[in-house]
């Protein structure tokens, strides 16, 4: 098992954002996390990335307990993440952005630059290496974030709505990129609202609602489950429909 998060809970005062969520990911898998807004997906994600330390529970990655360690340690262990709202380094060039990630494994600037250029090429950003990140639109920034994480040579990538807000063509390209990353041996956990993406990319999804994992399994069967439909469209509406 590559990642094993067991009974993870995260509370802010009396509000429990995540309650006893568990997730086990095998090397080479793509797992999807879905659920309505405010269901606790991003908080759970932040716990997995080391951005938040869970109130209780345990997170083990490649046999190492990372429950109470910093995001730096998570990155070093091989967990990379993107952000829901792209957090690119706006005044730095695309090459410099990716080099920051590359330095994690290549401390020498020449090696880091070479690696960063390779990654920019792989993610289709090679032609814009010298531009500042602020010159990119949302799709470009999301792609740059993926490139920056890839440069850290992660074993597990956590993509937080990395494909949201893209046009159908951009979405197709982004799905192809995610497939390519997966084919290169990176395991993926993705939070996504676009069901089409979840259906295309994942073989297993977890559904969050009000901080709990209410269902898990193959996406086709999960979306038919009573609890999942209720979470998305509500009990009253279903009753009215019946």
């Amino acid at each position: 098992m590559l990642l094993e998060a067991s009974e993870v809970s995260m509370a802010f005062g009396s509000f429990a954002a995540v309650s006893g969520a568990s997730l086990a990911v095998e090397e080479g898998e793509i797992v999807g996390l879905i659920g309505p807004n405010g269901a606790g997906k991003s908080t759970f994600f932040n716990c997995l990335a080391g951005d938040m330390q869970p109130t209780s529970g345990r997170i083990v990655f490649a046999g190492v307990d990372l429950t109470r360690t910093s995001p730096e340690t998570h990155a070093l262990a091989g967990i990379g993440r993107t952000f829901q709202v792209p957090a690119t380094f706006e005044d730095m060039t695309l090459l410099d952005n990716v080099m920051v990630g590359a330095f994690l494994r290549y401390p020498q600037p020449e090696q880091a630059r070479e690696h960063a250029r390779r990654i920019l090429g792989l993610t289709g950003l090679g032609g814009y290496a010298g531009q500042r990140a602020r010159s990119l639109g949302t799709p470009g920034r999301k792609r740059l974030e993926i490139a920056r994480v890839l440069a850290t040579r992660p074993r597990l990538m956590l993509l937080d709505e990395a494909l949201a807000g893209l046009t159908p063509t951009e979405l197709q390209q982004a799905v192809a990129l995610v497939r390519e990353i997966h084919a290169s041996g990176v395991t993926l956990v993705i939070v996504e609202h676009i069901m089409e993406v979840i259906m295309t990319l994942t073989k297993r999804v977890l559904v969050f609602n009000q901080g709990h994992v209410i269902a898990s399994g193959a996406p086709e069967s999960v979306v038919r489950e009573e609890a999942v439909i209720e979470a998305y469209i509500g009990r009253g509406r279903r009753k009215r429909r019946q």
């Binding site: 380094f89 005044d91 920051v100």
Partner: protein, 319 residues
């Protein structure tokens, strides 16, 4: 840019020989001191975006230590320089560990508070001359006291220190450390997610910055042969570093030097025109610069040039 930098250095080397006059030498030495302090501040304040407004604490330590070793043991003031660097590094660690966890304005406010506390404490501490301060050797006992009648030797010593500092900055800029500093400035959370050891990197930057600021303080005290709490630890010392760097372009290698080239002659002009009555005008000048930068060009003259240069080039080509 390369030709520009070569021209700038050639001009700085030739300056005291071309403008052979005490008045211009004074301006030159003041300009270089402002450039050194602002460039030292720039490492942590500009590149890493941790805007310290209390760097006078390191400048003051640097200024007091040489005169203290002379005052206590009659040692040449320059012997106090390593002591000052050591003390500044220790202070950087002591205040950096807790304060560098603070974000944005809170860090700035904490540094102001610490520097002011030190200023008040030094002002009441008899060992360091309390409110009166300390004096260096009135007449040099030998070359090692570094008391020169002419300003020219000081000018070239200061220029040498500035060259070393800017070379170190260039090395920092090109290496992993420099990239990490800029990433921290752009977004700490994202930087941490990429494995950047944020606290450790910020602390290293503060230590490097503190060491050079302390050297600047030592140079000032050795040259003037006198220091008191206000000229060593006063808030205006800290504010000047921030303004000079921000005016030229914080987070750029030559920005602080460019800022000093503009600000120091402007200050001297005010002092010359208004004499003693113009002291308060320095504050007005600083306030005005802060307003203009905040409203129109937070990136300073460096950013302004980068935006204007392509337009000028296009216009020149069209003509």
């Amino acid at each position: 840019m390369r030709y520009g930098a070569v021209t700038l250095w050639a001009a700085l080397l030739a300056y005291p020989l071309v403008l052979y006059n005490q008045f211009y030498w004074d301006i030159g030495v003041g300009l270089l001191l402002a450039a050194i302090t602002a460039s030292a501040w720039n490492i942590v304040g500009g590149y890493a975006g941790q805007v310290s407004v209390g760097h006078a604490m390191f400048f003051g330590i640097g200024a007091y230590a040489p005169l203290l070793v002379y005052h206590l043991w009659k040692l040449p003031p320059v012997a106090g320089v390593p002591l000052a660097i050591g003390l500044s590094l220790a202070l950087a660690v002591i205040i950096g560990v807790p304060t560098l966890r603070l974000k944005g304005h809170y860090f700035s406010m904490a540094t102001i508070a610490i520097a002011e506390l030190i200023r008040i404490f030094v002002g009441t501490w008899d060992l360091v001359g309390a409110a009166i301060g300390l004096q260096g050797p009135a007449v040099g006992r030998g070359w090692w006291d570094l008391t020169f009648r002419s300003e020219i030797p000081y000018y070239y010593i200061f220029l040498g220190v500035l060259a070393v500092l800017l070379s170190v900055t260039a090395v920092v800029e090109r290496g992993r450390f420099g990239y990490y500093l800029r990433a921290i400035k752009a977004g700490e959370r994202a930087a941490r997610s990429l494995g950047v050891p944020v606290q450790q990197t910020k602390l290293k930057a503060l230590m490097l910055s503190a060491a050079f600021t302390s050297v600047a303080g030592s140079l000032y005290a050795i040259k003037t042969g006198f220091i008191d709490p206000e000229s060593g630890f006063g808030i205006l010392v800290s504010v000047q570093m921030v303004i000079v760097a921000a005016l030229g372009g914080a987070g750029t290698r030559l920005g602080p030097l460019v800022g000093a080239l503009v600000l120091v002659p402007a200050q001297t002009a005010i002092n010359t025109w208004f004499g003693g009555g113009g002291t308060g005008l320095t504050y007005i000048l600083y306030g005005g610069i802060i307003l203009v930068l905040a409203r129109f060009e937070p990136g300073g003259l460096h950013e302004l040039w980068h935006r204007a240069a392509p337009l000028l080039r296009r216009r020149a080509r069209a003509a």
